[in-house]
């Protein structure tokens, strides 16, 4: 379908990113910021960092989920318009990392929300973050072409994203 192709192209060429630190150590955050700077300049791919989750397509989460932040993370996620994607950046966001047994840490982002792409590293280099975002874009394109919004939602529930509330 022509229309679907155009939608897929526009989505993958214009991903707006909202960054959320769910309790990390800042390292991943500064590397996410560094992807904006002249050396890496993600605006090349049309990526823009947006302050409002309402404008975002991809939620980039860094850090393990602390007990206090959980609710806020969910709220930010629910504020985003569909289709929405989540990239977990950094080992803490993947599984809790070195904070795996801390009493105030719930674990990785996927304990709370469905994660689409995992970017390991402590912190990942900006190159690795870009590579991760490119993976999200691939997924976006595939979703727009094959599944559409409804299909994606059901795929996220039954697919590889393990959600446990």
């Amino acid at each position: 379908m022509m229309l679907e192709k155009i939608i897929a192209l526009s989505r993958k060429s214009s991903p707006w990113v909202c960054h959320f630190n769910s309790g990390g150590c800042n390292a991943c955050d500064i590397e996410v910021m560094a992807t904006l700077t002249p050396r890496f300049d993600v605006e090349r791919f049309g990526i823009q960092l947006k302050g409002s989750p309402r404008h975002a397509d991809i939620l980039v989460c860094t850090g393990p989920v602390t007990k206090q932040i959980r609710e806020r993370l969910l709220r930010v996620y629910h504020q985003m318009p569909t289709p929405k994607y989540i990239a977990a950046v950094g080992s803490c966001a993947l599984s809790g990392g070195v904070f795996y047994d801390c009493y105030n840490v719930l674990g990785g982002i996927d304990r709370v929300l469905p994660v689409d792409v995992y970017v390991p590293g402590c912190p990942p280099r900006p190159d690795a973050i870009i590579a991760g975002i490119v993976k999200v874009l691939q997924k976006m394109e595939a979703d727009a072409l094959e599944l559409g919004d409804q299909g994606r939602a059901s795929a996220a529930e039954g697919g590889n994203s393990r959600v446990s509330h």
Partner: protein, 308 residues
């Protein structure tokens, strides 16, 4: 066939499609120049169009606490107003769709209306950031509208007409005699235009690090796309107006001259955006009333003296 001809003029050239695409092109140009000034690569040329397409295909959310009616219709009004304003802008020697003596006043009125809509957009979005942004937009509007009008008035005085096409045709008449007045008015117009379009250093109404995105914080999907289109159209109108009224090219080189002038004006605006920090809203007002307004008044007085 007159109807088809009119429809073509209104919808395609120099009407809706042309002005919207010009606006998106200027957005790309602005972002690209901004990026290059910062030693970055910047977005590819098709970026603004794809941004709009993507927004059109996203979910629409009406947040709790927002006025449903206002939230739905204001973005449409915003676009309608700016596109209507564009109907009076001649594209170089290509006459405007709707041109009459005094159309300059109408354009200014419509652009003012756009700012009022911006205020309502923020006020009824049900977000504290939106409200702060809305109030700031109005505060800033008071500071910038007067110098902008004064600068355009100077040109109108020099040309002795309120018609855009006449002013444009007479821009370079009596050239060496008017040059000082001309440049004064141009400087004031460029700075006020930057304020009108809410760009750094006058972007306090939508300052990202202070109030997220100001009036637009809560808007998503199609509505945001409309708002962006309206903003770009406003930019095209503002830049086009300044090009027509102040630069010699549109009257000499026609459509090509118009585009060249628009690019030149955008370049100046981008450099201005890249080289300064944001003003606080209070500083904006003080700056406008203390320096820019007297300066524009000076231009006007000079114009009267020179005209004799």
């Amino acid at each position: 066939m007159a109807i088809i001809d009119d429809l073509f003029k209104i919808l395609v050239f120099p009407g809706f499609l042309f002005v919207v695409n010009l606006g998106l092109f200027l957005e790309w140009l602005d972002r690209k120049i901004y990026a290059r000034l910062q030693n970055r690569v910047g977005p590819p040329w098709y970026q603004p169009w794809l941004d709009i397409l993507k927004l059109l295909s996203k979910e629409d959310v009406i947040p709790e606490g927002a006025s449903r009616f206002m939230f739905t219709w204001l973005p449409v009004f915003y676009l309608a107003v700016t596109v209507t304003a564009s109907l009076c802008i001649p594209v170089g020697t290509y006459a405007a769709i709707y041109s009459f003596p005094g159309d300059l006043i109408v354009v200014l009125f419509l652009l003012t209306l756009a700012t009022i809509i911006l205020f309502l957009l923020g006020w009824y979005s049900g977000s504290p950031f939106g409200r702060v942004g809305a109030v700031r937009a109005v505060t800033q509007f008071l500071a910038y509208e007067v110098p902008l009008v004064a600068a355009l008035l100077t040109q109108a005085l020099l040309a002795d007409s309120w018609s855009i096409s006449l002013v444009m045709a007479r821009t370079t008449v009596g050239f060496p005699r008017f040059v000082v007045v001309h440049l004064t008015a141009l400087a004031v117009a460029l700075i006020s235009l930057q304020g009108k379009l809410l760009r750094v250093p006058f972007d306090a109404p939508e300052a990202e690090t202070e109030i997220v995105a100001g009036p637009f914080t809560e808007y998503t999907g199609r509505r945001l796309a409309f708002i962006r289109l309206a903003e770009r159209t406003e930019m095209a109108v503002g830049v086009g107006l300044v090009s027509d009224l102040f630069l010699p090219f549109p009257a000499r080189l026609g459509v090509l001259g118009f585009v060249i002038s628009a690019i030149l004006v955008t370049f100046v605006l981008s450099v201005l955006r890249a080289s300064v920090a944001r003003f606080r809203i209070e500083d904006t007002t003080v700056l406008a009333w203390k320096y820019i307004l007297p300066f524009s008044a000076l231009g006007m007085v000079l114009a009267i003296i020179v005209r004799g």
